[in-house]
């Protein structure tokens, strides 16, 4: 069966510090991968999606970037965090026999102070 994991689960970072959130998918090959962000108590907003290695599309201009160095690895980064980057970040995947359904990881709660 397919599984998705992301880490760290929570982190508190000072303004101006770098960020790296990692996500891996197991049990499938060539998945579509996504990074979503959720503001407090609201629905999710798509930040990035990837259909393959080094193929990244950005949905929203922002202080963040994404990379996909391996088929099943997706990384969300920032060189200098802003207060407005605080939020709940979820990695997700779709593909294979499960088609267009999107499955989410456990999420990472980021607080920028």
């Amino acid at each position: 069966s397919q599984t998705i994991h992301q880490w760290p689960a929570t982190l508190v970072q000072p303004v101006g510090s770098p960020l790296s959130l990692e996500c891996t998918v197991e049990g499938t090959s060539n998945p579509n991968l996504y990074w979503y962000r959720q503001a407090a108590g609201r629905g999710l907003q798509l930040l990035f999606y990837s259909i393959g290695i080094d193929q990244i599309s950005s949905e929203v201009p922002q202080n963040l970037s994404a990379s996909r160095p391996q088929d099943r690895q997706f990384i969300l980064s920032s060189k200098k965090l802003l207060l407005s980057d605080s939020g709940f970040y979820l990695c997700a995947w779709s593909g294979g026999a499960l088609g267009n359904t999107i499955y989410f990881g456990e999420g990472s709660w980021l607080t920028v102070v």
Partner: protein
């Protein structure tokens, strides 16, 4: 642009009873997907049920079923025999068949199941 509206910010139901969560959406497309996701206090987004717009038959997953009215652009979720573990925020979401991966979410409905 597509929009998804959930008009019930909060709802409550007694354990073992049935509850229906409402969702409406707006799109000019004819082929798309609709989803209900559950977000418990752990905050992980869990898929509850999925409906393809070209299918007339309403989707069902155990105690969860939908009432999909394509002409009315309505997609409600019915939870039967509610359990305490159903307490969560529920999100309705839309995805175009031409833009797979981009889920458009509603504002969410917080459901509390009371013992």
């Amino acid at each position: 642009a597509q929009t998804v509206t959930q008009s019930q910010p909060e709802m409550s139901v007694q354990e073992a009873e049935t509850v229906t969560l409402s969702c409406t959406y707006d799109t000019s497309e004819s082929n798309y997907y609709l989803f209900w996701y559950k977000q418990p206090p752990s905050r992980q987004m869990i898929l509850v049920i999925r409906q393809e717009a070209y299918k007339q038959q309403n989707a069902t997953e155990n105690r969860f079923s939908v009432n999909f009215q394509k002409a009315a652009k309505s997609f409600s979720l019915k939870i039967s025999d509610s359990q305490l573990g159903d307490t969560a925020m529920y999100f309705c979401a839309f995805m175009s068949s031409s833009n797979t991966g981009k889920l458009i979410f509603g504002q969410g409905t917080t459901l509390q199941v009371k013992p």
